[in-house]
Subunit: 509 residues, 2 copies
């Protein structure tokens, strides 16, 4: 695990001083965000908004100044000819790109986007609770308008959605994602149908018993460490909507929610967020305090969370190894069950209405629906008022179920209360990446499979660190796919994985 570091010339020292300053302000804002969600009392909100607005304004002003552009170009000139793989060349690439992007958005637009998103978020929460889409509709119209404006401001070559997708998955093209998702859909829909029709039922009632929260917390810590999350450089907080967040390589936190009557959210939420955190903890120290010290894209970030949540965390050997610990914490609830019972329960396939509760197989179909609807809204083909009907139709086609209420339909996700079109597809890209990366790890390093068969992840984490994590954001996702797995991202590994797993579980031929 070697890495170079940045040049030491005056131009580089000046650039890095600015980069470090902006990084520190961003991390301070991240601490304020985490604290808001984990600890802040209700009365603190107004003051917190003021503090976060002030930090954002200072960061934006500093990063988009002419001065910043001059610092980047002076350092670039100073290290002209540095190899593509060096930290310096990668930082220049990343800064040039994000500087150009940030300067494309006028302050007026950014302020309007912030105001509309804040308003839409509040209305969305109320509209969802009241199952009242019409209340949200005028805000969704504004959000669509903002997304269309952003696509124009950023610019694009082929289609508007490219301009937005690029912000979450650098250089990704909508046409490529569309082709990947089409192939995925063609494999998953028949598999989903075969499972529904095979008649075999998995009993998952053991997951829905009385599980006291202190026991869940103890097991979450155990299983996070078992996955490879370093708690000396981490912390598990409690929130309503779980997330992971990094304040630097030495302090990467996750959050979990605890349902006293349902075990899955805390166990698999913890494994999911641990995967994100393991990625951030593994970036190379030479990248610290720069925008390279983070995951390469949303899709690759999600690949690591899904890898630990699903490919490791919903595997048979993992629970053969760790179920006894869970049993020892909850003897009354699980004493009469086997690891195999638990493995089957946590892998039950059932087409359902809610994305975040979906199984591994049908989850991607939820994403494909949102990807298609976003493109239609962005192009103007689908108007805000037409969303509920289009949603129901899409769910029936893709999943064979239709929501009665919009709160279980197009109002279920927070994402469209801001113009973050392009984010949803990265969830499914993450699933595809996770399977392709996992196959490579098993093929390249035999010790990975040997250890996983005993429920241990040390060799896997080491392999991921060496091949993926340490690079941070030095490369684009497409570059990393080839670098890590030897080929571009495809749907094949994921389809092989789910077909093998669920054919076995459901006795399909």
């Amino acid at each position: 695990m070697t890495a170079d570091s940045f040049p030491a010339s005056p131009a580089w020292t000046a650039l890095l001083a600015r980069v470090h300053e902006i990084n520190d302000l961003e991390k301070a804002a991240a601490v304020l965000t985490w604290d808001r969600d984990v600890n802040m009392p209700p009365g603190g909100l107004d003051g917190r908004i003021q503090q976060m607005t002030t930090l954002s304004r200072l960061i934006h002003t500093s990063f988009t100044s002419d001065d910043m552009g001059a610092l980047i170009e002076a350092a670039a000139a100073d290290s002209d000819g540095a190899a593509y793989d060096t930290d310096g060349a990668a930082l220049v690439r990343t800064l040039r790109r994000s500087y150009a992007d940030a300067r494309k958005l006028p302050t007026e637009y950014v302020m309007r986007r912030t105001a509309v998103s804040a308003g839409a978020r509040g209305v969305w929460e109320k509209a969802r609770a009241a199952n009242d889409f019409d209340r949200f509709r005028p805000w969704l119209e504004q959000v669509i308008g903002l997304a269309q404006e952003a696509a124009s401001l950023y610019g694009y070559e082929d289609e508007p959605y490219d301009a937005l997708l690029d912000k979450y998955e650098t250089d990704a093209k909508t046409a490529d994602v569309r082709a990947l998702f089409r192939a995925l859909r063609e494999a998953l829909v028949p598999l989903r149908q075969a499972i529904v029709e095979c008649g075999r039922k998995v009993d998952d009632r053991l997951l829905r018993q009385d599980y006291p929260i202190d026991g869940q917390q103890a097991f979450a810590r155990y299983i996070a460490v078992a996955a490879g999350y370093d708690l000396e450089r981490g912390h598990i907080g409690t929130v309503v909507h779980p997330f992971s967040i990094s304040f630097g390589q030495g302090d990467v936190r996750i959050t979990t929610r605890w349902y006293p009557g349902f075990l899955s959210p805390s166990v698999f939420g913890t494994l999911h967020e641990s995967g994100h955190a393991i990625y951030e903890q593994g970036t190379h120290p030479s990248l610290a305090r720069t925008p390279l010290a983070r995951g390469a894209s949303m899709g690759l970030h999600e690949s690591q969370s899904r890898l630990f949540e699903n490919l490791v965390g919903r595997s048979r050997p993992f629970w053969q190894a760790h179920f006894p610990k869970l049993q020892s914490i909850f003897p009354a609830q699980l004493g009469a069950h086997s690891a195999e019972d638990f493995y089957a329960a946590v892998n039950k396939v059932e087409p359902s209405l809610i994305r975040v509760e979906a199984d591994e197989l049908t989850y991607n179909l939820h994403i494909i629906l949102r990807f298609e609807l976003e493109q239609a809204m962005l192009s103007g083909a689908l108007r805000a008022g037409e969303l509920p009907a289009a949603w129901k139709e899409g769910m029936q086609t893709l999943l064979g179920v239709t929501p009665v209420h919009d709160r279980e339909g197009c109002l279920q996700d927070v994402h469209w209360s801001s113009p973050s079109f392009g984010y949803f597809p990265t969830y499914a890209l993450g699933n595809l990446y996770s399977a392709q990366i996992f196959e490579s790890a098993l093929a390249q390093e035999p010790e990975v499979g040997t250890e996983l068969a005993a429920g241990r992840t040390g060799a896997l984490v080491a392999w991921l660190r060496e091949h993926l994590h340490r690079h941070g954001k030095k490369y684009t996702p497409a570059e990393l796919a080839v670098r890590v797995t030897g080929k571009p991202l495809g749907h094949e590994a994921f389809v092989r994985y789910v077909t093998g797993k669920f054919a076995d579980l459901y006795g399909l031929s």
Copy 2:
């Protein structure tokens, strides 16, 4: 409860925009401090030091710029002739003073102080745990050096310690504090001696039983609210060394520690920090996001914590009202005891080694020791390596006890991990203020005493809010002493209070 607010002219708008920005950065830094002590994993320290150093540099640069001076003077000119009591005049006074002080400290010094303090803090924690003064000694040397530098940079008329004391207790003079403390010592040492010699023993074993932490936490929340702390605008965190901190009037937090075998630290620590928080929660909203929205001085701040911890929280009627609740949480531990047993136990006088566990009477002797040692370290008369011996000698003289271990001696307090010399004496000043203010409240508003006799604090909190809290930092401590109590700060009220209380408890004539 009325207050004016700031002028709305362009000059004032410009000044307030800057003041708000600096306030927001300071509050962000405060969140980072709180998080460091409450949540941060060990690996986060390096990154956190960088973030806090960057914030303090930006704050210092912005606040000490020529520009800032021009903003202050333009606003001052714009509201020339405004009455002394107006918010505007008070803000100009405060800003002029702190601007002049801050300009005396070079940015390089401030950054060095932040970095050394952050490092020393971590080492102090480890050194205390390991009872290893030598590990902390080189950091203490740096801290002393920083304090000496600060005294020179600020400048002083009479003696170096004045320059530092003034930062915690505006306009206070070391000579005056020395005289107050001499009078106090002359009253307290004989009283302490009389109690030791009277032969009456108070049994406080009931405080040292097995008290499960979840019960302590439940009672802490109960008693904090009973004291008057608003938890809708507050939060109780867990730390090693408790403190309170404000992120704005709507989010004022306290921290507590929980000892499973000793009840007092959580109960009286919570009451103490609640007193600080009640003060901050009571500043007038018109002062929000300015340096006036805080306590007037450390001494006055401590007066409020000690008032709720001791004058209210160790009073007989308070426990007659609230002991049943404590009994209901800990029936096995306290079912056989009376409120009077508890009242006596929590007021036991016993010369001891640890300041924060000291009784009301001997507490001030701990402070007098630190006040004397700080002056000696500042003058160079006492070197870092000589501290442990000087500490032991002073303890023997003032309290008649000598620590065996430095962790119960000179390593016990966090304060000397930063150059905050001048802070310690404000604890004893706070005790003197608390008694003098409490006497005034009882004398001026009969409802205060009537309510307290039933364990209720509403009238007291309202009186304090009206006479002290709402003013925030608009006046100096000396001005407030006269405004609130009609006379300058003296030792007499405190001596009357402890003499009366302990003569009764120990049957002294």
